[in-house]
Symmetry: C2
Subunit: 437 residues, 2 copies
Amino acid sequence: MKTLNVGIMGLGTVGGGTYTVLTRNASEISRRTGVQINVVMVADRNIEHAKTMTGGGVAVTGDALEVVNNPNVDVVVELIGGYTLSKELVLKAIANGKHVVTANKALLALHGNEIFSAAQKAGVIVAFEAAVAGGIPIIKALREGLGANKIEWVAGIINGTTNFILTEMREKGLTYQDVIGEAQRLGYAEADPTFDVEGIDAAHKLTILSAIAFGMPMKFDQAYTEGITKLAQADIQYAEELGYRIKLLGITKRTVNGVELRVHPTLIPEKRLVANVNGAMNAVVVKGDAVGPTLYYGAGAGAEPTASAVVADLMDVARLANANVEQRVPYLAFQPNSVADLPILPISEVESAYYLRLRASDKPGVLAGVTKILADRNISIDAMLQKEPSDHETEANIVILTHITLEKNMDAAIAEIEALSATVGKVTKIRMEELAK
Amino acid sequence: MKTLNVGIMGLGTVGGGTYTVLTRNASEISRRTGVQINVVMVADRNIEHAKTMTGGGVAVTGDALEVVNNPNVDVVVELIGGYTLSKELVLKAIANGKHVVTANKALLALHGNEIFSAAQKAGVIVAFEAAVAGGIPIIKALREGLGANKIEWVAGIINGTTNFILTEMREKGLTYQDVIGEAQRLGYAEADPTFDVEGIDAAHKLTILSAIAFGMPMKFDQAYTEGITKLAQADIQYAEELGYRIKLLGITKRTVNGVELRVHPTLIPEKRLVANVNGAMNAVVVKGDAVGPTLYYGAGAGAEPTASAVVADLMDVARLANANVEQRVPYLAFQPNSVADLPILPISEVESAYYLRLRASDKPGVLAGVTKILADRNISIDAMLQKEPSDHETEANIVILTHITLEKNMDAAIAEIEALSATVGKVTKIRMEELAK
């Protein structure tokens, strides 16, 4: 039987899971591919841990460069994370003519263009199914399964930490501050959760989805990113009363003026399947012009779910390691000479429907003032809720759902509303998506 | 640019959609594949329709055999349906060294073993993404995306007609007889709906899913099939009261004793995503040992959704037409010499939880009698509902949810319950699935 020799860099959660799955399912994997996939070397800072895990049959090193330079390694699996050392290692592996499998979304979102360009010149595969939505085979669905379609938009819950927090906030009526500590205790959130809760991790993944959906370079630096830390419990409740759920969505959409690339809390009609994706689970909705909306759901993180994607990539490499370049799926779904540098729309130029909440003194004429400002800017109102002040309050909460308008138009209207003498403080603005067509 | 010459047999709904998508998205498709996909010949009984649709640039014939024998055709797309003529045409195309793309589930469920065997000898691709769940790329997910996993089970809503009917029954409180006429008027059901409503179409698709999930031959003749025509409105309501939805599921599961292969109405907890798949939409849940449960959702039928899958297959063929056999994904996901002839469990040997509804005279001791019969057979009760008789009735409805037991054990218990003097008529039995682990 043919063999494929694998070197794994990083034997942490995902690396350990990868080693476990490759070992446990070795027979199933070779029955599928006709290739025996051997782990021949692993690199980890903790050499003892690596030795214990691999049990003696595998070369162990503390220096990942040894994996990259090992002439016996056909494919390097990069599971170190970060984007400095990992970038050097991946580029060196490519220069050495090795195929690369990586789960590193930050690396690809920031340096994917350089990496794919180097890989193309070297004629090697760089596979990255595990970089987005863990075990969900969304990269394969977008690049291959839906390849007949002009992709119109992609919208996904692609960060498990924030989805866990939002689910707890909704189900238990807790505030963000209440939940973040619990999420940290349960291992759903890091000690410093910034990366997740500010939407940066989701923006890395969305950048990759956007590139392969539309055949354009990675444009992480132009992604709009807004996290969940300022989301109030009241907004979750009001959204629910109006038939919506709030999710942190990554949304990328092709419009006539350019590509939208944005991560932010979003109201979604509760009857949409994706609105019912709870806990740490992920889901991605893809709208193609032929297929219509499709959805892909599963575990977005964790040792074995992510390993499932890493090993699927290794199996693709096992099949196509010696194939001609044109027999492989292109890195960004489109042939390198067909990748187009589409412009990214700044958030001010994005069109959206909106949820607005404002606090106003409970006296006549306030609503008339607010609705006149919206009407003057051609912003139609879809629904409205007025919450009477409770005993110790003097201001009422007014919630308005609008039809679609340009973000800068909405922002100008909000500035005028905030300037009204009857309104108090800032207007809360949350974008809404129908996700139907 | 390289070219791939396509002949389409059957220019009906899916054939027309395929031609439309190939034409409309021609530029996107060649930018992705680096190959220009040309339709060079179409066959349809209605030659005028075919000429009008293709507008003169394509050879048109009324005889599909001309497509199969056309030396200029590289790949034949079989969209005729049925399994007599289509089988002959596909085998002839294979004998002529042509690749085949088909959406024909009946053909593959019944004759797939023979077709794949012939294709293997001829060294050609037979691709069939469109045969299961229309536009959802579930074949690719199972064969490639989840290839690292030992697949434990697959459960899907894979017939849009019956899901539409069940959704209408639940949402509008209608009977099956009320809805079937409406479904026929709207084009969701055929004039003779037997194939759909008796679960045969779902069993065809399930047979294919089962074969590629577990790497075994097609075993349609051993599938257990039960449709929705006898499903009562009362059972949908009682299920709902207990927190469940009833869906027609195709379920295939690997157990130590053999493979389960069954289509029947099934109670699913309403909090499961798949329980909320409504209307004519399809969804497939796949449980892998590494990835856990994943779900794939989309349109399971219709011209362009199905065409999306047909054209994706053509794009795979465009990439791999001239590749070595080992560079292609095997027909049944496993290498032909690794396909294993696993036994199929008869339904009597399947383990399941159950929903039971019985009618009994409203007098003391009835429940004691029923629960004793269940207890004597070690069948635990999970929940119970007793519905008092209405004014003009003398019997109460008793609904029981049981824990898991062997089907033949349950059937024996039901026979005893039906023999009780206090029970009236037959016990309604519907299987339940948690779909969690």
